[in-house]
């Protein structure tokens, strides 16, 4: 029997004692972290299946839309008005705008491109987003290709040094998946408590954060809505919170953002805050 990866395991049930942490960093609470923030001034890239510009959940916040296509075998970023192939990118966008209604969204469509180059399209789209200058990128997808390990590693470091927070859904399948397992990435698995700001910090990585990802009401294809489960719906909750904090405290590094999220997480505390 293959061992379950169970990335969501630490966040399940009512007993969160395994997540117990010492007192949070003094002076940091949710009010300080994102009180009054709407995400204004922050650009979030959604690297996914596209975004439906006119979907009510997108709230008119889509400012740019590109897609990766293969031109003479090379992944090339081109302007895109293809909407959303699956509905998933729009779902992520809707989760983020519900938390941070004033962010600007950039859609980077990497799914649905030539299936011979799925990993290459993902890499090219991610590189474009980092170099374009976004503050947050939501990556609700992953690659298991060991051949792309080096390329993903390089890009993840580039993002870190350019202060781009990469928020990635953990992959619930055995084996490594990239880029969610790199240490500078905000890797997210799902918990089932129906609260968009319920957040757990996992002191035992690789998956560092738990956010709502079970029976989440989401935007879907053709202006629709549905209810969905998956780590890929947990990641945008964390992306939304990161956008709120970044708007309130411009210039924070991914490392500082993670420390703030850990400080305001709903983990039980082993001692009262001093």
């Amino acid at each position: 029997m293959v061992e379950l990866p169970a990335w969501s395991e630490p966040f399940q049930g009512d007993d969160h004692s395994r997540l117990a942490r010492a007192a949070a960093l003094s002076g940091i609470d949710r009010e300080w972290a994102w009180g009054g923030s709407t995400g204004a001034g922050i650009t979030v890239a959604i690297v996914d299946s596209g975004i439906e510009r006119d979907h009510p959940a997108v709230m008119g916040r889509l400012v740019e839309s590109v897609a990766v296509e293969f031109v003479e075998g090379e992944p090339t970023v081109v302007a895109d008005d293809g909407g959303d192939l699956f509905g998933h990118g729009t779902a992520c966008a809707g989760i983020i705008t519900a938390l941070a209604p004033d962010v600007e969204l950039v859609s980077v469509r990497v799914l649905g491109a030539d299936l011979r180059g799925k990993g290459a399209a993902f890499l090219a789209g991610l590189e474009w987003a980092i170099k374009r200058g976004v503050q947050v990128a939501n990556l609700s997808l992953s690659s298991k290709s060991e051949a792309l390990y080096g390329a993903f590693h390089e890009l993840v470091d580039l993002a870190y040094f350019r202060n781009v927070a990469l928020v990635s859904a953990a992959n619930n399948l055995p084996g490594n998946s990239y880029p969610s397992l790199f240490s500078s990435v905000f890797s997210v698995a799902a918990h089932s408590e129906p609260d968009p700001v319920r957040l757990y910090y996992n002191p035992s990585p690789p998956v560092e954060f738990g956010a709502w990802g079970v029976d989440v009401p989401i935007a879907w294809k053709d202006g629709g809505r549905t209810v969905a489960t998956g780590n890929s719906f947990a990641a945008p909750h964390v992306a939304g919170l990161v956008a709120l904090i970044s708007a309130r405290h411009p210039g924070l590094t991914p490392f500082e953002l993670k420390a703030i999220l850990a400080a305001v997480a709903d983990n039980p505390r082993t001692q009262a805050r001093g």
Binding site: M1, L4, S49, K118, L141, N172, D215, V227, G230, S232
Partner: protein, 257 residues
């Protein structure tokens, strides 16, 4: 590799190719059987209306449903969907598992595909089949009877089932790649001593008897032996007795020649 070693190496490779080909024919259907057992188990474990596995095929790119189980599953077999389309397409393209509920009430849900199968579900879970490196297909489950949605534990269990299915698929692909294997071995062994043309000639020489018609008496026998896997112990005992008699006859015949 010195020139004089080639005949011995070629003979060994021929034997390897022959055995691999026999093994492939003995296990023809093994992939299908294993995939079927995975969807059967999925339906039972989840008490679901249907479960199916679609595998990625090229030219044209498509996800083709190979096996299905459950009262509402049979209509899916043989259907193909575009990998750029729907929940199954998303799981395949993104490598991420997901589940949707109350899809039947959503008028925008991809009813066209669902209706082709003869069953429109209320909830769907789709998990990619990943063999460690690549995504090769998708495992899908429709409508758990006991619950309107799929839990995280469900998704994790489905991930394990999907992993088993993907492992089975890679194993049978290894058997299919006899020529590829021989080519790799020859290039590796030969280094600069064997040119590409010579490699191709050796691969052809090692495998040319393997493509004989399935109607050839030897392959017919292999196929029939392969079919014995589904027999009961008692039936296998009977077949073994018959084979014993035939083998004694074959030995005596060879002795008389």
């Amino acid at each position: 590799m010195p020139e004089q070693d080639l005949p011995a190496a070629l003979q060994a490779l021929q034997a390897a190719a022959w055995r691999a080909s026999v093994a492939r024919r003995l296990h023809r259907g093994a992939e299908q059987t294993l995939l079927q057992s995975i969807v059967d188990a999925t339906v039972t474990l989840f008490d679901a209306e249907a479960s199916s596995i679609a595998l990625f095929e090229r030219e044209p790119d498509r996800l083709e449903f190979r096996v299905a189980a459950g009262p509402q599953g049979q209509g899916a077999i043989g259907l193909s969907v575009a990998p750029t389309h729907g929940i199954v397409g998303y799981a395949f393209s993104s490598g991420q598992a997901l589940a949707l509920s109350d899809v039947a009430t959503d008028p925008r849900f991809d009813r066209a595909t669902a209706e082709r199968t003869g069953y429109v579900p209320r909830s769907i879970a789709a998990v990619p089949l990943t063999d460690g490196q690549r995504t090769v297909g998708v495992l899908q489950v429709l409508d758990k009877r006991g619950s309107p949605t799929f839990s995280l534990r469900d998704m994790e269990l489905l991930g394990v089932f999907a992993h088993q299915a993907a492992a089975a698929i890679s194993a049978t692909k290894v058997q299919r790649g006899i020529s590829t294997m021989l080519r790799a071995v020859l290039v590796d062994m030969g280094g600069d001593a064997i040119g590409p043309d010579q490699v191709e000639a050796l691969v052809t020489a090692s495998t040319d008897r393997l493509d004989e018609s399935d109607e050839a008496p030897f392959w017919r026998l292999v196929e029939r032996v392969g079919a014995l896997a589904s027999l009961t112990d008692r039936e296998i005992g009977l077949v073994a007795d018959i084979l014993d008699t035939v083998a004694r006859h074959a030995t005596r015949s060879a002795g008389r020649r």
